[in-house]
Subunit: 284 residues, 3 copies
C-alpha cells in the first residue's frame, strides 16, 4: 500500500520532470523508473524536494541520482534496503561532511525497516571508527529526523551484567579469528593501555552491544572504513570479521559498491582491493 501510494507520487512527478529528462537525452527509461520507485518509497517528500531543487541548475544530476544511485545500485539484489541504509548511514556519519544527506538516509533507513534503536546503534559503531565528534553529530542528525517524523527515541538497552573486559574479549574472539588479538599484542611495546581501550571500550562497551547482530555491525564498520579511505588495515580486519560472522562475500561486495555512490568511485575501488586481499588471506 505504501509502495502503491509512492508509485502514484512518482508518476505525478515523472510527468513534471519529463521535459528535464528528455532534455537530458534519456526518455524516462527503465533505470529511472526502477530507481524512482525505490527512492520515492523511502522518503517521498525529501526526494521530490531534492529533485526539484536540481531541476533548474543541474537536471542531469537529478537524473543521475535516480538512475545510478537507485536504479543501478540501490535496487541490486544481494543486500537488503535496510542493510544498504545501514552502510550509507555509517559512511556519511564517518565522513561527517554531508549532514543533509545523513538526515535523508536516517529517514530512509526508518522507511527501509531499521528501528530507531538500530539507527542509534549504527552511530555507536561509527563512533569507534571515526571518533566521538562524528558520533555526536550523527546523533544530532538522528534526533532531528526522529523529532520531524514524530518517532519516539528508543529506550536505553538493558543493563549489561558482565564486565567490560569479558564482553570485549568475547566479541573480539567471535568476529576476528585472532586478527584483533594480534593488533592488541602489537601494542604491548608502545601503548599497552591503548590495547586495553580497544578491548574494554571498542569491543566491550560498543561492539559487544546486542541490538544489532554481529553481521549488521560489521557491515556498518566496513562502510565507515571504506568511506573514510584512511583505514586500510582495519578494513581488512573487518572484512575477515564479517566473513567470520556470516556476512557473505556478495554482501561485502555490495556494501563496497554502495560506497561508490556515497563516497565516490575511488573509495569503492580501493575498498574492493582491500577486500580481495582479505579474501585471499583467508583462502577464499
Amino acid at each position: 500500500m505504501l509502495r502503491k501510494t509512492c508509485t502514484l507520487s512518482a508518476l505525478v512527478l515523472a510527468i513534471a520532470l519529463t521535459a528535464t529528462a528528455t532534455r537530458g537525452g534519456t526518455d524516462m527509461n527503465e533505470r529511472y523508473d526502477r530507481g524512482w520507485a525505490a527512492l520515492s518509497a523511502l522518503a517521498p517528500e525529501k526526494a521530490r524536494t531534492v529533485q526539484e531543487s536540481l531541476a533548474d541548475i543541474a537536471p542531469d544530476m537529478a537524473r543521475f541520482v535516480v538512475e545510478f544511485g537507485y536504479g543501478d545500485v540501490f535496487t541490486r539484489p544481494g543486500l537488503s534496503p535496510a542493510l544498504r541504509q545501514t552502510a550509507t548511514i555509517a559512511a556519511l556519519a564517518a565522513l561527517g561532511n554531508a549532514a543533509p544527506q545523513l538526515r535523508f538516509h536516517i529517514e530512509a533507513g526508518l522507511a527501509a525497516g531499521l528501528s530507531p534503536a538500530e539507527i542509534i546503534e549504527i552511530l555507536y559503531v561509527t563512533t569507534v571508527f571515526a571518533g566521538f565528534p562524528a558520533g555526536l553529530n550523527g546523533l544530532a542528525a538522528a534526533r532531528q529526523v526522529f523529532a520531524d517524523r514524530g518517532v519516539t527515541p528508543p529506550p536505553a538497552p538493558a543493563p549489561e551484567t558482565t564486565d567490560r573486559r569479558t564482553r570485549g574479549l568475547a566479541a573480539l574472539e567471535a568476529t576476528s579469528r585472532n586478527a584483533g588479538r594480534q593488533v592488541l599484542d602489537s601494542l604491548a611495546d608502545l601503548a599497552p593501555d591503548m590495547a586495553g581501550f580497544i578491548l574494554d571500550f571498542s569491543y566491550g562497551d560498543v561492539i559487544a552491544r546486542n541490538i544489532l547482530t554481529p553481521a549488521h555491525k560489521e557491515i556498518a564498520m566496513i562502510a565507515a572504513a571504506t568511506a573514510r579511505g584512511t583505514m586500510e588495515p582495519q578494513l581488512k580486519v573487518h572484512v575477515k570479521a564479517a566473513r567470520a560472522v556470516g556476512v557473505s562475500r556478495e554482501q561485502i561486495v555490495e556494501v563496497l559498491i554502495q560506497m561508490a555512490v556515497y563516497a565516490g568511485f575511488p573509495a569503492a575501488l580501493n575498498g574492493l582491493g582491500v577486500a580481495r586481499t582479505a579474501f585471499a588471506e583467508i583462502g577464499e
Copy 2:
C-alpha cells in the same frame, strides 16, 4: 576596467590594513601587492569581508592568505586563473568541509572566466571522485552563488545520441591508454558490475560529457583526488590520463602546488610524489 576598479578598492583597503601589515613585520610588499591585485580582481567584496573579519583576531592570517595564497601561488604562470579555480572548486567540493570557501571560489571562478555551465560540470566530475553527497552539496553552493550574483543557471546540455557504453569506452580510451581498461579487467573476478558502472556511469554519463575539454576535466579530477588524499591509485591513473589529453607536466605540477593552499602541504607533497611515479612510468 574591472581590474582598474578593483585595484582602486585594493588601495583603499591597503591603507586600512597598513597598521596590521606593519605590525606583522612586513610592510606592504611586492608579494602582498601582487596577491591583493589578483584576489580583489576575483571577488572584491568577499575578499574585503574575509580580511576585515581576520583583522582583530589573526591579522597575520589575513596577510598569509594574500601573500602566500595569491601572491606566491595563484599568480604563478603555468596555469590560468580559470584552471586554478577549477582545481580549487573540485578540491573543496571533494573535501566537503569548507562550504564558505567553496562559495567564494565558485564566485571567483565566474570572475576568472569559467561559465556557469563549466562550474556545474566541475561538480559533476567531482561527484564521480567524492560521491553524490559531495556533488549535491557543491551544487547547493553553486545555486546560492548564482542566485546572489543574478547568474542564470546554464541550460541543460544537448541530449546524447550515442549509448552510454559506447560513449564511456570512447572517453576511457581517449584518456587512459589502457590503464582504465586494466582497472576494469581487474574487477572481473570480484565485482564485474562495478566495472560496468565505471564504464557506463563514470565515463559514459559523466566524463564523456563535452562541455569541458578532456584536459579541463582531468585537472578537476587530479585536484579532487589530491585534496582528499585517499586515492593514490586513481590519482596516478589520472596524471597519466592528463598527459594523454595534452595537459603539460608544468600544468599538473601547478595544480598540485595549488593544493598546498587548499588542502595543506602534505596533500600537495604526496600528490607530487604520485605524479613523479606516474611520469616515470610513462617514460617522462
Copy 3:
C-alpha cells in the same frame, strides 16, 4: 575553587543522570566520576548541554563521552590538559567536519590554560597541514568562542626582524635533523618552487613563529596529521622532529591515544604504527 564549584555541579547533574547511568548498567563509577570532574572543570555549561541533549536519544553515548573520553583518556598522566586540548583543537580544525566540537574544545582549551594567542597559533600550524580553508574556519570558531566568553583577541605578535628564508632554515634545522632538508632536495627535479614555499611559508612564516614552543607546535602537527590519516610521510617526519625538540616518547603516544577519541580508533592505531617506525628509524 573552580574545581569545587564544578564538582558541586557535577553532583547535581549526577543525581539527575542517575536513572540513565543505572539503566546503562553502570552505576556512577570511578571512571565516570573522574571523567565528569575533568570535563565539568573545562566547560561546565556546554558539558551539561551535551549530556542533556543525549539523555533521551542515546544515554549510553553521554556516559561513554564522560567515562572513556575523559575518565579513561583525558585524565591520563603523561600529557597536560593544555597539551591535550592543543592536540584536539588541531585535529578537529584539520578534519574540518565537526564545528560544534571544535568550539567546545577551544573553550576547554582556554579553561585548561591555553592563552587566546596560543589557540590562534595552533590554528596557524593547522593551516600548513590542512590548508587555508581549514585554518580560516578554525579561526571563525575561535572568534565565536572568544566573543561568547568575552575574551579579548590577542595582540598581533611582534614584527619579525629576520628574513623568511633565514627563519625557515633555522626552524627546519632545529626540528627535523635533515629529514625536512631531504624533502626539499627531493623536489628539486619536479617542483623546486614548492621547496621554496615550504622553507619560506611553512617554516619561515608559520613554524618559526615563537608564541608556541617548538614542542608545542610539533604536538599540534602530529595531531592534525594523525586525525586526517592521509599524511603518513609527514607524520613520520614530525614524530622525529618532536623527539628532536624534546617531546617525550610518552607524550607522543599520549597524543596518538587522544586521537582515538576525536578521530576514531583506526586513526590512532595507524598513527601509533607510524610512530613505531619513526622511533625505530632514530634508534629508539
